[in-house]
């Protein structure tokens, strides 16, 4: 949605933008739980880190010494072991228990310094990607230059309330700029849109062709590029969380500022079993089914 609007706001009158230095309030750090796991046959990682000052660009500090485990409604236990830097890993290869049955619910339990944090999620269905397409388009305008535009074709399941995160990889690199964040509620932008059981709406399909680094135009694919698209099923809560992340991180500046929403903390589904104002916890736990498809752009 935001992506549509920023394309519109390319006009500049007499505006200007300058980096400024600001003294922000000092704050204690909070525990951050980054727990997005899926049914792919590769090591699954849950990271525990600490928040840091806003202008501090160092790698987030990992939190070691926690016990992290996920149990499912079938009684399986997945132990995530601390390898390095607060990254707790569970490897599905060569073990009997799997993340695989749609409808299974999962509980995350973290024990750290005598405190217990929990969260829950459910594995939902994910549609397959029928095809990836590249279409050569003439220059439409300054924001949509000539070149190959990628899109994926997939159809949302019938029945309201399926939510997805669509991830795109260009030449093997995950497109993780805030403006690349592409989520869908059924086949549309939100629950109220009521687009159920359709092919994903055009702006969602198109979003696998990223913006350029300056975020002022779309960067089409060139011959030889590869595109890999994954659809991750996510819970409705995770969808709303990511929608809030979009609002908070897609700040392009310029005239987009007129349309900008005020800064606000994003939600969390991590529950502190002994809530405590001096030891805050934030972050998100979600379990996804993943479908994927790749294609290389050839002559």
């Amino acid at each position: 949605m935001k992506r549509l609007i920023i394309i519109l706001i390319g006009f500049v009158f007499y505006s200007c933008e300058d980096e400024v230095s600001i003294d922000l309030k000092e704050a204690p750090s909070a525990l951050v739980v980054d727990a997005w796991i899926n049914d792919k046959a590769e090591p699954q990682v849950i990271s525990l880190t600490a928040t840091q000052g806003y202008f501090n660009s160092e790698e987030p500090r990992g939190i070691a010494g926690a016990t992290v485990e996920v149990t499912d409604s079938k009684g399986n236990v997945f132990e995530f072991r601390d390898n390095l830097n607060g990254k707790y890993t569970w490897d599905p290869t060569n073990v009997a228990e799997k993340i695989e049955t749609v409808g299974t619910s999962y509980q995350l339990r973290i024990e750290l310094n005598g405190k217990v944090y929990t969260a829950s999620s459910t594995l939902h269905r994910v549609p397959t990607i029928d095809s990836l397409k590249f279409t050569f388009k003439e220059e439409q305008n300054v924001f949509q230059p000539e070149g190959y535009y990628g899109e994926f074709v997939a159809t949302d399941f019938r029945g309201q309330g399926d939510t997805y995160w669509i991830k795109a990889y260009k030449n093997g690199i995950f497109l993780n700029n805030p403006f690349d964040l592409n989520i869908a509620y059924d086949a549309g932008f939100n629950a109220g849109g009521n687009i159920d059981g359709f092919v994903f709406i055009q702006p969602i399909q198109d979003a696998v062709t990223p913006l350029n680094d300056d975020l002022d135009a779309i960067e089409p694919y060139i011959i030889g590029d590869s595109l890999y698209v994954e659809i991750h099923s996510i819970t409705n809560e995770a969808f709303y969380f990511l929608q809030e992340v979009q609002i908070q991180t897609q700040r392009d500046g310029g005239f987009d500022e007129i349309f900008a929403e005020p800064l606000e903390n994003v939600s969390t589904n991590i529950v502190d079993q002994t809530p405590d104002l001096n030891n805050k916890v934030i972050g998100f736990f979600n379990v996804s089914s993943v479908s994927g498809r790749g294609r290389k752009l050839l002559e």
Binding site: L8, L24, A27, A30, T51, Q144, N194, F259
Partner: protein
């Protein structure tokens, strides 16, 4: 409830009927007051009876009526910068006396210029009211040299906006959606062109502007914060005239003249911006422009019946190629019939249509596209009776009924030829009100104005009715039931009694005024952006969204100084208390969202402040200083730890200076200076990373906790009439040279926090920074040429 309403109205009317009886043996003098030059009605022109030291003033249609005991009177007709006209009238029977006033610059023999002071600001019961005539507005140096009504009112005390070039305006700490903007009685749902750089009001077509910030009379209602009543010119009924201008951004042309001399006249004004044409070589098919048409026709059937038809049509178009873009605009139409039942009972019946819509189009071809638009359409009927009971009482009685049709989204997406219509259902509502209002002179010292407005709102079918269940405060409410209503039945009805009262008490050469206003607002402008935009959504009160209610108390002292009251000063304090202001939950989605009501929550608002004003209206050097010390806050469950927080338009200090100096007969210099405390914004304390995305975080969970730097700016303008002194030119023309923001201050609009641009490979360091954005960061020179012939 219905019988309760009748009881209240009846008892109010019976109070007045006593005074009606006692007024029987008196005689009425009435008529219209017009401008001699062009026949335009003179709103608010005063009528003063020397012998009795009493008087009245013309209403918004220029009609006056005064009832006196039989006798011979000397009557003065006055209007600012017009010569006072004095008539000796022998009143033995009801008399109609239409008056034409002449501007001061044209001295005629029969005119007697009296030394009697014009002190309406002190002697009227009206307070918290700002009036600007178009002549003053034209003198204010403007952005890109284009005179603008909404930018001009922001130079007055208590009025502000969230930043340069932003849409709308804020009055006494109220939000943009809490202002009722009327153009010839028609509500205007979005008053901006080009995202807010200009307003929809073509200055060539505007006759009179009145902004009511407090002490709102009972004949107005429907918004909490203010009423901006803009009246269009009727058109010159004496002779044909063509006026216009060529400016940096747009050109204007207006034609007016009589259709039948002194009986009927017309007015047509058009504007179109042309930056798109100038920029064409650089922007290919991309374009950004606006145009508007303002027109009015009126006809005097006879002394007792007049008909006015006025309309506005305007559109902004923003395209980035032939198929894709964004556009928005207003359409209004007003048909009014003035009828005099007798020399003391004036009536007006207005039929009004108003609509605002916006639309987006995306997609390269018909197989892959996304079209989306949204609209509000309203139909209003307003009967209005102005009863001049006697010299001491002037009564307004009337009503208002508005039928609303909201079309939140009509959206069709086509993906690979598969069409999905994701339009939302329309919503319907009926808002109505009846009111009675009396202005009563108790003595020379005391004037009272009191009234009561009874308003109702029905949210009605056909449509979907949703029930939500609250979750934790500040979070999205959960949908628990949905029902369909097919007929035009009422889904939810609200009622409110809105008492209004003002008092003026004269002390020496000054006066003290006090007022109380209760207002109810049934439709809400939902915006989740920092600044108002054309895509903010009007939405009705429903079974889930309650009406907003506001109380305002104001107290002021008014005093004039100098010979001929050359200095007008005032100090006013106000306190506003609002309930059920509409806020939204975290992550609210206001577009194409069928369950929008679940994302809206209620909060309380309060605003208070003191306004100081000094004006000099006469002489070679004139202008004003206005200063407001104010605060505007909100309190909403789930936001800011449930504590009060400042609104985005909370401005502690707001100082505006405007001055104009007539250097020679043909040259005048003007300047204005603005200083405003920086807007509050929300700043993070920390950041964290989820799935490679760096997210800002405020550990303390506060709202609007940081002030951006204050803004200040100086604009200057020079008006120059070409030609030689004493030599009459065929064309009455002038040039305006102006520089906006002459010292090029980079006034911050916002400070925003984001990660450095560019794509970061997972695991690499991410830089986050703060950027200050200024909409205008340089001096903006402009020149325009204006003419009348």
């Amino acid at each position: 409830m219905n019988s309760g309403r009748q009881l209240i109205l009846f008892s109010l009317l019976s109070i007045f009927s006593v005074t009606i009886l006692s007024a029987q043996e008196k005689i009425t003098l009435s008529g219209y007051i017009k401008n001699e030059a062009d026949g335009e009605a003179m709103i608010g022109a005063t009528v003063f009876v020397e012998e009795l030291s009493t008087g009245t003033s013309a209403n918004i249609y220029g009609f006056y009526s005064i009832t006196l005991p039989p006798g011979t009177y000397t009557i003065q007709y006055r209007y600012v910068s017009f010569s006072t006209q004095v008539k000796t009238v022998e009143l033995t029977e009801g008399q109609r006396l239409d008056i034409e006033l002449v501007t001061e610059s044209k001295q005629l023999d029969e005119i007697v210029v009296t030394s009697e002071a014009l002190d309406a600001n002190v002697s009227d019961v009206e307070m918290s009211v700002e009036k600007l005539d178009i002549k003053t507005i034209e003198k204010i140096p403007a952005f890109l040299g284009e005179v603008d009504v909404l930018k001009s009112i922001q130079l007055l005390p208590g009025v502000s906006s969230v930043g340069e070039g932003s849409s709308g305006f804020n009055v006494r700490g109220g939000s943009v959606g809490q202002n009722l903007v009327l153009l010839d009685d028609a509500p205007v749902y979005n008053s901006s062109h080009l995202f807010g750089f200009f307003s929809v009001f073509n200055p060539d077509a505007v006759k009179d502007i009145k902004l009511i910030k407090g002490g709102i009379p009972a004949n107005y209602g429907g918004r909490l914060s203010s009423i901006l009543d803009v009246r269009m010119k009727e058109g010159n009924s004496k002779e044909r005239s063509i006026s216009g201008g060529i400016g940096t951004v747009f050109s204007r042309l207006a034609v007016q003249g009589p259709l039948k001399k002194d009986k009927s006249s017309f007015f047509v004004a058009v504007r179109r911006s042309y930056i798109d044409i100038l920029a064409k070589p650089f922007t290919n098919d991309a374009t950004l422009f606006f145009y508007d048409l303002t027109t009015k026709v009126n006809y005097d059937f006879n002394d007792n019946n007049k008909l006015y038809l006025s309309g506005y049509f305007g559109r902004d178009v923003f395209r980035f190629d032939e198929r894709q873009g964004f556009d928005w605009g207003n359409v209004t139409g007003t048909l009014r019939w003035n009828h005099l039942f007798n020399d003391r009972l004036f009536s007006n019946f207005a039929f009004i249509v108003s609509s605002f819509d916006y639309g987006f189009s995306f997609g390269e071809n018909d197989l892959d596209k996304f079209d989306w638009n949204s609209r509000i359409v309203t139909y209003t009927f307003k009967p209005y009776f102005n009863y001049f009971l006697n010299t001491n009482n002037e009564l307004l009685i009337g009503g208002e009924a508005t039928y609303y049709k909201f079309r939140p989204a009509e959206a069709v997406g086509v993906s690979d030829g598969q069409v999905s219509d994701i339009s939302l259902d329309n919503k319907f509502a009926l808002e109505s009100a009846v009111y009675v209002d009396n202005t009563q002179k108790l003595s020379d010292k005391i004037t009272l104005r009191y009234g009561l407005r009874f308003s109702t709102f029905q949210y009605m079918g056909p449509g979907n009715v949703y029930e939500f269940q609250p979750t934790s405060p500040g979070e999205r409410k959960e949908l628990i039931a949905a029902n369909q209503v097919n007929g035009r039945e009422s889904i939810k009805t609200y009622y409110n009694l809105e008492p209004r009262a003002s008092l003026r008490y004269k002390i020496g050469n000054g006066s003290v005024k006090a007022s109380y206003t209760r207002t109810a607002q049934y439709i809400h402008l939902v915006s989740n952006t920092a600044a108002p935009t054309p895509i903010d959504l009007w939405t009705p009160s429903t079974n889930n969204v309650e009406p907003q209610l506001g109380d305002q108390y104001a107290l002021g002292y008014f005093r004039n100084f100098g010979g001929g009251n050359s200095f007008e000063t005032s100090i006013e304090g106000y306190y506003r208390d609002n309930k059920k202001q509409v806020e939204y939950v975290r992550g609210a989605d206001i577009f194409i969202n069928e369950y929008l009501e679940g994302d809206l929550i209620n909060g309380d608002g309060r605003a208070y402040g003191v306004e100081f004003s000094i004006k000099k209206n006469v002489g070679n050097l004139n202008g004003w200083i206005s200063y407001t010390l104010g605060r505007s806050e909100l309190k909403t469950d789930g936001i800011n730890n449930n504590e009060w927080y400042p609104t985005r338009y909370d401005q502690t200090h707001n100082l505006k200076l405007f001055g104009e100096y007539q250097i020679t007969k043909r040259t005048s210099l003007s300047a204005n200076f603005t200083y405003i405390t920086g807007a509050p914004i929300t700043a993070p304390t920390s950041r964290f990373t989820i799935q490679g995305v760096t997210i800002p975080y405020d550990y303390f969970n506060q709202r609007n906790n940081l002030r951006i730097p204050a803004t200040h700016r100086l604009d200057i303008g020079l008006k120059w009439l070409p030609g030689k002194p004493g030599k009459e030119r065929r064309v009455n023309d002038y040039f305006v040279f102006s520089v906006y923001n002459i010292y090029g201050n980079k006034n911050p609009f916002s400070i925003f926090f984001s990660q450095d641009q560019g794509r970061v490979i997972m695991g690499d360091q991410v830089n986050t920074l703060a950027n200050q954005f200024s909409i205008i960061g340089a001096p903006v020179p402009a020149i325009s040429y204006n003419f009348v012939f």
